[in-house]
Assembly symmetry: C2
Homo-oligomer: 346 residues x 2
């Protein structure tokens, strides 16, 4: 099946493109009325465990916007379904919850590393179903949470403000921490490889909460594991986007960990970030999702600033600095996609 | 009254010191058993509104540690007492709460800007009482919240994860935002000047939550106001520390806003930060407060790394990247203070 729009894959290899590719984290999510309608009938876990529905949701944003990629409808914690913790998605959509959090080395010891075929066959099936539905329109991005971010959920039970428990565990239980990250590295590597075999054409590794760490702690306690995961993913022949938030102090180390493109949030200027990671990788980003709630002229000014900073260099993928907010007006999303395409024509 | 230990003031002017000065944010706080004992009898607001107790708490950490400064026992939201919002400090100590948050331009319009002598005479009196109690042992640091951070509390009602409401207000109510920041600039400038007249010998401006912003938004919506406040404070002849967290992408802009020393958190290497702000300002920081929960050898390794990066350059003030955590072991605090002094002898 020929890919009719290969802008994303070309940008991921830092090749010339006719215009800058654009996609959004959480583009298949709660800001879409048709998704909210489905969520009235089914909870998040039901939707993501039903391959037909998950594939359909994955394609939903294409009906409205001229996006250059779709990203699998799933959640970074899904592969934890089989490890032996109780994963819950609250009705409010405030994100996942784990009640029986990891407390000590014995808890880590008990953690299972099931194969993705065993624990999340529905995710792989959703990919297999999405590809023919896409019919070569745009590439399908698969994804996973990076070992650190998965570990932080397992220890905190959810997203956190300071990641105090995660860091205390890291500092106080150094051996157990390494065992935990090794298990999660194994889990995530297998999961990403299986996604590629099922049909994912690019991958994003979400180390969403890694920005809470000091650079030297990232180097010691996280980098080796992220590197292994990225190597494993790239060994399947697809490019990898390495993403985190709050990473303005970690960019050099994240590039060292790997990735064809480094995904950044809005807390650093795009040109400054690109200079720091160097010309051998691309950059994805970096509009503040909150800015997209504002009036269009304000959005446009910010988008143009980002495009100016990217300066048409091959390897820029336009995205937000994190996921689309549920309150985002659809017309701003549509205007944004069109603006990026129209104002980056080569 | 001669100041017997002027390390902090010398470092603030980037002058040579016999060893690196050290103090901690929240050093007069809940990790101290003698403070917790007081808190069993009085709530936070009662303590901070009683000048005798506030002065006594300010000096508390000196009884245990060889610190090079004390910081006034107060909270950044105290000067909001008189502006017309309902400020509450919850018993759990999770930080302040404002129930009648700002929603629109009319709310901003209604905001009063009382003089500090009118709204917080007890803070100024606490400073007047603390100085003779200190008897020239170490300098007394006064402080205030920066206009952006105060605005974020007024709009969110408390600390927030994404500051979505604050940013939506900033983007959608541009005129009201500017009026709000002008009022808070006025309030904060008067407050800091009054602190110096009462006896504060150095000042720290806390823009604690400014790290949620894109650099260009900081430039447009925040920098001019912080600059005005810092100018006003410095006009009283004392040095100013300009502090924020998550500012790895904002450092150049923060230096442009002003400050004799830039206070950073742990999310960036100290040497990288210092290079970015340039040699004409000092650097304060930057141990992760969570690291201080760990075993001493782990703490020591991180402290030495910070000292190595500071390389004995005049203008380094050792501090944590944010406030001391309530769970911090006293022996780690004591060991840290001694370690910094002993390992930076010139």
């Amino acid at each position: 099946m020929t890919l009719r729009n290969d802008r994303l894959l070309r940008a991921l290899r830092r090749q010339a493109v006719d215009c800058t590719p654009v996609w959004f984290m959480r583009q298949a999510g709660r800001y879409l009325p048709e998704y909210r309608q489905l969520r009235e009938k089914y909870d998040f876990l039901t939707l993501s465990q039903n391959p037909e529905l998950a594939a359909q949701i994955t394609l939903m944003p294409l009906q409205r916007f001229e996006l250059d990629a779709v990203i699998l409808f799933a959640d970074i914690l899904l592969p934890l379904v089989g490890v032996g913790v109780d994963l819950e998605y609250t009705a409010s959509g405030d994100g996942p919850l784990i009640r029986n959090t990891l407390r000590n080395a014995a808890d880590v010891e008990r953690l299972r590393v099931p194969s993705p075929e065993e624990s999340v066959p529905f995710v792989l099936e959703a990919i297999r179903l999405a590809r023919p539905l896409l019919d070569g329109r745009v590439p399908l991005i698969g994804f996973a949470g990076a070992p650190f971010t998965l570990a932080s959920y397992l220890i905190e039970g959810g997203a956190s403000r300071n990641y105090q428990r995660t860091k205390a565990f890291m500092f106080q239980e150094r051996v157990a921490w390494r065992e935990l990250l090794e298990k999660l590295t194994h889990l995530t590597s297998d999961y990403l490889r299986a996604q590629v075999r099922a049909g994912a054409q690019a991958l994003q590794l979400f180390d969403s909460w890694v920005g809470c760490l000091a650079p030297s702690d990232y180097q010691d306690y996280v980098l080796p594991y992220s590197r292994q995961v990225i190597l494993a993913a790239r060994s399947e022949g697809v490019p990898v986007i390495h993403f985190g938030t709050g990473t303005a102090g970690l960019l050099e180390a994240m590039r060292e960990a790997g990735g064809d493109v480094i995904g950044i949030d809005w807390r650093i200027d795009l040109d400054a970030a690109w200079q720091r990671v160097g010309p051998k990788v691309g950059i994805q980003g970096n509009l503040d999702p909150t800015a997209l709630l504002g009036p269009w002229p304000e959005v446009q000014r910010r988008v143009q600033d980002i495009l100016d900073r990217a300066a048409g260099r091959p390897g820029h993928i336009f995205n937000l600095g994190h996921g689309l907010l549920p309150e985002t007006p659809l017309e701003n999303v549509a205007a944004l996609v069109d603006y990026v395409h129209e104002h980056t024509q080569r």
